[in-house]
């Protein structure tokens, strides 16, 4: 556990200053077609300082977390802030004051999970797959854990000690179509918690693996989708990614200042009135979020950012500086991934809120369309234009699920597509298996219900 070597410097801060000690511990095991191709453990940590002066920041980081190491980065960050203030001279006022506090650990750090636990788990799951599923041409199992611990001291705001373990297993299955073309499907398991808590034994994945294999066998016999605009049901996992990628990034205040489509749409209708969307800090609908954030890396006590309410764009996500620009309060979205990263505006747990429709009714309501179940990844533009891969989907004919479709893409413009939403399911899924990219990587939760909408689908 990190010792506090930071607080002693607090009385010496002259300008707005953050000092952050951090360590990211990673374990990773990869089984590829029965071979253990990766068996890596890493520990990367250190201390960083960021100093604000006249409208620009100076930042410095180093691996040495000691009295001398802290002094070195504090001095370098201060020098950098002075350089920038002298050469850029933005002459901005100091950042507004923030609520003070001191937040301790909500999860106790552990370092008693050996790499052999991940090795045993991954190799056992790999053997289970090899033994049970006969029509695979290849398989891959990845066991991964990432524990992040941070100690933050700020000149103004809340100090905190943060620890967040995330444990994940990814399974990729590959089969060939009758004409020899490989098709693949993957699923991620896990989330917040230590590896042994999340994955008590490999057999706990059996049911989900059966479903994954059955889905792959259907995809193997899949048909090409009919390219064009179609009525679609998006599975909750896709709605979550849509919330994050296509809408969430456009309402990060730094992206807004960079010219995103959201800049001209505040307090305007951007979705049907069935759509409400929030970036939750730590608690959503009475339950803990997948990756709770109580204090951000600028020492701001995190609060929910209500982004869309009944179809109207209500607000953005802010750090201290953009909140000052927009004359509002920061929301606690400033987060840094590694000790050597400066905090950027990042989503925490972004979700479309559930509605009232039943999934079966939603499927039954479509005569000719698609049920988009799974995406591999997606990209979105500051214009709100998005593209997601479709790893698994089915055609809907006369209100019933039909054949699986081959890999394709869906695309659209978020604020136009969301206006076509006319049904929202009453259930909700959360997911936190991936990394968000924006200069730095970042863990993020995303969630949502199933939605019925119109989408442009690729194919032939």
């Amino acid at each position: 556990m990190l010792k506090d070597l930071l607080s002693v410097h607090k009385t010496g801060f002259k300008d707005y200053t953050e000092l952050r000690a951090q360590v990211n511990n990673t374990k990773r095991v990869v089984m590829l077609a029965g071979n253990m191709v990766t068996n890596v453990q890493s520990s990367e940590g250190g201390v960083s300082a960021r100093v604000y002066k006249g409208g620009t920041f100076g930042f410095a980081s180093g691996a040495e977390y000691s009295k001398q190491g802290v002094e070195k980065v504090l001095s370098a960050a201060t020098d950098n802030a002075i350089f920038m203030d002298k050469h850029v001279n933005r002459s901005k006022p100091p950042l507004p004051s923030a609520q003070s506090g001191n937040f301790g650990l909500t999860i106790t750090p552990r370092d008693d999970i050996p790499q052999s636990m991940l090795i045993d788990f991954a190799s056992t799951v790999d053997s289970m797959i090899a033994d049970k599923y006969g029509k695979l041409s290849s398989r891959s199992v990845i066991a991964n854990s990432l524990d992040i611990e941070k100690l933050l001291v700020v000149s103004d705001g809340a100090d905190s000690h943060f620890y967040q373990p995330r444990s994940l297993v990814y399974v990729f299955l590959t089969a060939e179509t009758d004409d020899g073309v490989p098709v693949e499907l993957f699923k991620s398991f896990g989330g917040l918690g230590h590896f042994d808590e999340i994955f008590p034994n490999p057999a706990s994945l059996t049911e989900e693996l059966d479903i994954l294999y059955e889905s792959l066998m259907k995809k193997r016999e899949g048909i090409y989708s009919n390219a064009g605009l179609h009525k679609c049901i998006l599975h909750p996992d896709l709605a979550g990614m849509l919330a994050h990628e296509a809408v969430g990034h456009t309402v990060e205040a730094d992206i807004v200042l960079g010219g995103s489509v959201a800049a001209n749409n505040l307090n305007k209708r951007v979705a049907s009135d069935l759509i409400s969307m929030t970036d939750f800090a730590h608690t959503a609908l009475g339950k803990p979020c997948p990756l709770p954030v109580y204090v951000d890396d600028e020492g701001i006590i995190a609060k929910d950012a209500v982004l869309i309410e009944n179809g109207i764009l209500k607000s953005f996500m802010y750090n201290r500086e953009t909140a000052q620009h927009f004359d509002t309060a920061p929301t606690g979205n400033a987060r840094a991934f590694a000790f050597s990263d400066e905090p950027l505006i990042r989503m925490r747990n972004t979700a479309i809120l559930p509605g009232e429709s039943k999934m079966d009714d939603m499927i039954a309501s479509i005569d000719d369309g698609y049920y988009i179940v799974k995406t591999g990844n997606g990209q979105a533009d500051t214009t709100g234009e998005f593209t997601f891969s479709v790893e698994l989907g089915y055609e809907i004919k006369n209100g019933k699920l039909g054949k699986a479709i081959r890999e394709t893409n869906i695309s659209g413009v978020a604020f136009e597509m969301l206006k076509t939403v006319d049904m929202v399911s009453d259930d909700m899924n959360w997911e936190c298996g991936g990394f968000c990219g924006k200069k730095q990587a970042m863990t993020a939760g995303m969630g949502g219900p199933a939605i019925r909408c119109e989408l442009n689908i690729g194919g032939r």
């Binding site: 620009t56 040495e64 920038m84 010219g259 050597s340 400066e342 990209q379 194919g459």
Partner: protein, 431 residues
């Protein structure tokens, strides 16, 4: 301990602790980075950046640990962890380290650290964009100077030293005019000195000007199969070739559609594609692989024939194919063709110029589908309107045999050297 002593200490102690074979890389570096957000300077960032990577093989069982602290207690723990990882791993006879050939020191330097000049170049670029492209919002820009000293040792006696420093920059921008906004675009470059204005680097000015033109867009009507010119700014073809067909994963899994194609024709004869970390236009390119071999330039596809896979030492021993001469999978060079870009455009009745592809990473089938971003229509031999919501779909294996022309002109950004390449048989569709 100095850097050399750390490397030797770690290697010796891995062997003492039970490793049959071991390798160690110690890197010490520093980065200075200017940041711009929304057209204004926001941050100067200094990173003191160290790392130690250890690899141990105990009875063909592999363990790897990576840390960023170089004091003795941390190194000792990393050695202990590395041996523990190896002993709990599964045995695999394909695991190995490089044999000793010739030990070397590599020095590749920039014009020297000049942060004041780098700042002036950054400021000049911010002002240039503001003055020359008033409708462009510079969403973000970084400009940095990097210096690294790297030592690699392994227990077969391989010793490599590398000292390098270089500059790089990246920008992200879009055009805005009232309610209208273009898609974002970006440009990245590495360079040996900050002598050249950032706007004059590679395609930077072209992409900025095209963003402004993209404020007014047109959607492709319906669907057709046509020609697409992939510009040097778009890496979708080259990245997919590497990730889906010729790298470790698809070849070890056996899912690559080219697993048995080495030495056979897989593309039009006009296509020669190489990994070229030693090319003079590549800045701070790889000098030795993580396996411990000196890097050499290598052709992947020569005159349309698949001449090499991009395999690591492990991938090579696992599949029985030769390893790649380097692992600089990002330093791609494509040989120029014999058609000028102007002639290439003139020869297309109906097609598009693709500057950026937004879509998912393709799967093993090689099917690619995504949205054409920052891209333009070609009609009757002339580039006309910017595109919106236009999808392109193709299969890499199919279209590589269908290359009507490759441009004489190429563009360098310090990382890649690429021409404009025309592919036929691509499905282009609007709403």
């Amino acid at each position: 301990m100095n850097q050399q002593e750390i490397a030797q200490y770690a290697l010796d102690n891995l062997i003492k602790a039970g490793a049959d074979k071991a390798a160690c890389t110690v890197s010490c570096g520093r980065k200075e980075e200017f940041n711009v957000e929304a057209g204004k300077f926001s941050l100067l960032r200094t990173l003191f950046d160290d790392s130690l990577s250890l690899k141990a093989l105990c009875g063909n069982r592999k363990g790897v640990t990576v840390i960023n602290k170089l004091e003795k207690a941390s190194i000792d723990k990393a050695i202990e962890d590395c041996i523990s990882l190896a002993k709990s791993s599964l045995p695999d006879e394909a695991e190995d380290i490089a044999e000793k050939l010739e030990n070397k020191t590599f020095d590749h330097h920039s014009s020297g650290a000049d942060l004041d000049r780098l700042f002036e170049r950054s400021k000049e670029f911010v002002e240039h964009v503001r003055d020359e492209y008033p409708k462009i919002i510079l969403e973000g820009m970084t400009a940095d100077y990097n210096t690294n000293q790297i030592i690699y040792l392994n227990s077969n006696g391989v010793v490599f030293n590398e000292n390098k420093d270089y500059y790089s920059m990246s920008s992200m921008f879009s055009a805005n005019d009232g309610e209208k906004a273009s898609s974002f675009n970006f440009y990245e470059a590495a360079f040996a000195s900050p002598d050249t204005p950032f706007a004059d680097l590679g395609m930077h000015s072209t992409l900025l000007a095209e963003s402004v033109k993209s404020l007014d867009t047109r959607m492709v009507g319906g669907k057709y199969v046509g020609k697409v010119i992939i510009t040097p700014a778009c890496g979708v073809i080259w990245d997919t070739i590497l990730s889906c067909f010729i790298s470790d994963r698809p070849l070890i899994e056996g899912t690559s559609r080219w697993k048995d194609a080495l030495g056979t024709k897989i593309a039009d004869s006009k296509l020669t594609m190489s990994l070229a970390p030693l090319h003079p236009g590549i800045i701070a390119g790889e000098r030795f692989t993580s396996d411990g071999y000196e890097s050499k330039n290598t052709d992947l596809i020569r005159d349309g024939v698949l001449s090499s896979f991009a395999l690591s030492l492990y991938g090579s021993r696992k599949t029985g194919h030769p390893r790649s001469e380097n692992t600089a999978f990002y330093n791609i060079e494509v040989a120029p063709g014999d058609t000028s870009l102007a002639e290439m455009i003139k020869g297309i009745d109906k097609g598009i110029v693709l500057n950026r592809f937004s879509g998912a990473s393709p799967g093993p089938s090689g099917d690619v589908s995504g949205v054409a971003k920052n891209s333009f229509m070609i009609e009757n031999g002339v580039i006309t309107d910017a595109l919106s919501e236009t999808m392109v779909s193709f299969n890499i294996v199919d279209i590589l045999g269908n290359i009507p022309a490759i441009s004489k002109e190429r563009c360098e950004n310090g990382t890649c050297i690429l021409p404009w390449t025309c592919f036929d048989g691509i499905t282009i569709s609007g709403k």
